[in-house]
């Protein structure tokens, strides 16, 4: 598996990220809206609940006011108070009539538990009575862990001056009452405190024991006469309802799934397109290569046919010319003037050269498969150098250790002869021919280097083509024959211009040859 195969494309990543970002934004906005709605509903319910508690408490206050007006009518008589209060008290309520003496209040009469006549009232009740007017005033609130003691006070002018009326009730704050069973409480966890801050000892009422309340809470004043208790509430379950509260998460889940799906889809499309593009490129290259090969092959085949035809057609006239020259020399013999002799020799030499050219052309066309046999490469080099006269001014350096290869001796000889001849021709002013041989990667490597002018880089890729030549008198077959013979041996020939001038040709032959492509064979006449 290639590295990076699972790395998504930038396009797929960007699209998935955009969808994901839009989803998250939608989630945030929706969630904020739902939470705002929850909070609004909680505030509304809290206010409603506080109002409800307030109305219940003011019912108690009106009882106190009715009692106060009776006291007023009876001139503050404790006996009349006791009679009237006795009718109202229902066990948990205690009514206390007190007179202010100095800074303290002393109980004149008490109906219900907790207070005795002549008792001096504590600071909490005292403070409430001091502040009480004809409007009721909340008194001491005290929760001892089991029950809450709370009270309401009313004072002059509802009662005669110097008197105070106090109503105290002792309740279990957690027992459901009319106040905490009303509709707004159903969806709330709520607690009523005597103080602004939800202190445990100030607890009046609650419909939950999980106090203090956690999470999002809302608070609302519970009007008790001229002062307030405070109701603190939290929602039992999201007030806006289950679905609206789930909606943002539904949006988030759907959106993220969509982002993932979109990303995957885009990725798939991108990969398919990439694959298609790559495939098209590969196929195009293949087509181009096969077309090139076809064109090259056709060109070679056309050249071969032409060479064959020309070679054959030249043979008869060349034969006639050779014969005719022979006859001229034979007929004239001693009668030849030096000038005639000079030109006759020229004609003979040039005809011989024409024969060589036609042999070369046909030699290229009739190339046969190599007949492989073990041979010493250095020996072939020596033979070729011996048979090819070294031009004046050329030094020859040979460095070929004993190196055995499997090759066709005649063909390898031709390869070397062509390379050596080329090298000599590249150094008309003299130079150095260096022939070296060695082994590398199971191949015999033979290099033939000259110190001539090298080859124009612009035509480097054509020098192995048949009939391509940079020489005025060449047939352009020398390197083509070299290349074909070496390839037929399963080898490879490369050409390089040397940096210090000149060219080097490298012939690589496999030490254990598998035959290269067949290059044609003799056919029956």
């Amino acid at each position: 598996m290639r590295g990076g195969r699972w790395r998504p494309s930038p396009l797929a990543t960007v699209i998935a990220l955009i969808v994901a970002a839009a989803t998250v934004l939608g989630f945030v906005l929706t969630n904020r809206s739902v939470q705002a709605q929850n909070e609004a509903l909680l505030r509304s319910d809290t206010t409603q609940a506080a109002g409800y508690v307030s109305s219940i408490v003011s019912g108690l206050g009106s009882t106190l006011q009715a009692l106060a007006s009776g006291i007023n009518a009876n001139g503050g008589s404790p006996v009349a108070f006791e009679v009237q209060a006795g009718q109202l008290s229902q066990g948990e309520f205690t009514f206390v009539l007190a007179r202010k003496t100095g800074a303290r209040y002393v109980v004149l009469a008490a109906v219900g538990p907790g207070f005795e006549s002549a008792q001096v009232l504590g600071p909490g009740v005292t403070s409430a009575l001091d502040q009480a007017t004809s409007t009721i005033r909340p008194g001491l609130v005290d929760f001892n862990g089991r029950s809450t003691t709370a009270g309401l006070a009313i004072g002059p002018p509802a009662v005669p001056s110097g008197l105070g009326l106090y109503e105290q009730l002792v309740i279990d704050p957690f027992v459901a009452t009319k106040a905490t069973e009303a509709a707004p409480f159903h969806s709330l966890m709520a607690a009523v405190y005597g103080s602004r801050t939800p202190r445990q000892d100030q607890l009046v009422l609650a419909n939950t024991r999980s106090l203090p309340l956690k999470g999002a809470t809302s608070e609302a004043p519970v009007a008790v006469g001229s002062a307030n208790w405070w109701l603190v509430a939290a929602a039992r379950s999201p007030l806006a309802g289950g679905f609206p509260n789930a909606a943002p998460y539904v949006i988030l889940a759907i959106g993220l799934s969509l982002a993932l799906a979109t990303g995957i889809t885009v990725e798939a499309l991108v990969r398919r397109q990439r694959y298609a593009t790559r495939l098209v490129a590969v196929r195009t290259a293949e087509l181009q290569a096969s077309q090139d090969a076809l064109v090259h092959g056709e060109r070679l085949s056309a050249l071969g046919e032409m060479a064959s035809t020309i070679g054959h057609e030249l043979r008869n006239p060349l034969g006639a010319v050779l014969n005719a020259l022979f006859m001229v020399r034979h007929e004239l013999q001693d009668a030849l003037t030096p000038e005639a002799e000079h030109f006759l020799v020229m004609a003979e030499e040039q005809s011989a050269r024409a024969v060589t050219i036609s042999e070369n052309v046909l030699g290229f066309v009739r190339q046969r498969e190599p007949a492989l046999a073990p041979l010493d490469l250095g020996e072939v080099v020596d033979d070729v150098l011996e048979a090819t006269p070294t031009p004046p001014g050329v030094n020859v350096t040979v460095n070929t250790a004993h190196l055995e290869v499997k090759a066709d001796r005649d063909q390898l000889t031709q390869v070397l002869a062509n390379l050596v001849t080329n090298a000599y021709q590249a150094m008309p002013q003299g130079g150095t021919l260096t022939i070296e041989a060695g082994t590398q990667d199971h191949h015999a490597e033979l290099t033939v280097a000259d110190s001539g002018g090298g080859v124009d880089p612009a035509v480097l890729d054509r020098i192995f083509d048949p009939f391509f030549t940079t020489k005025a008198t060449g047939t352009g077959l020398g390197l083509a024959i070299v290349s074909r013979i070496v390839e037929a041996h399963g080898g490879r020939v490369t050409f390089e211009n040397r940096r210090r001038g000149g060219a080097v040709i490298t012939v690589r032959l496999p030490l254990e040859p598998t035959m290269g492509p067949a290059v044609g064979s003799d056919q029956e006449a």
Binding site: R315, N316, P317, L318, G319, A320, L322, F326, M327, A525
Partner: protein
Amino acid sequence: MSPEERPAHTAPGRDRTPATVLIVDDQDEFRETTAAILSKRGFGVTQAGDGVEALDKLARDDFDVLLLDLRLPRMDGPAVLEALTEPPTVVILSAFEYFDEAALRERFGSLVFECLRKPVPPDRLVAVVLAASERAHGG
């Protein structure tokens, strides 16, 4: 007497009798110049321009050596060889590149003395024809 010391135009064992050669080639200039060279060297030379003409002349006269081109009008070289009844020693001389010497020798056996590809240097041609004529006379 070795062949080198003997006049070229006399066949061994038939002293003073020129060896005879039939040159069969459709290329007039080549045939003519070849005939001239061989005549100069003392061979009795006859020419034919195609296979049919060659068979005509072979039927009328005996030749020591048949110098035969392979590609000929009317009847080609191999067909001429097939039709021979009293075969002379044959030297194939062809410009045609693709003849298979081994196949020819297998088909016609010892009838084919030598195969040459045109153009052949005149000295070599003379030497081969001389050797062929010597074999024709059991030399």
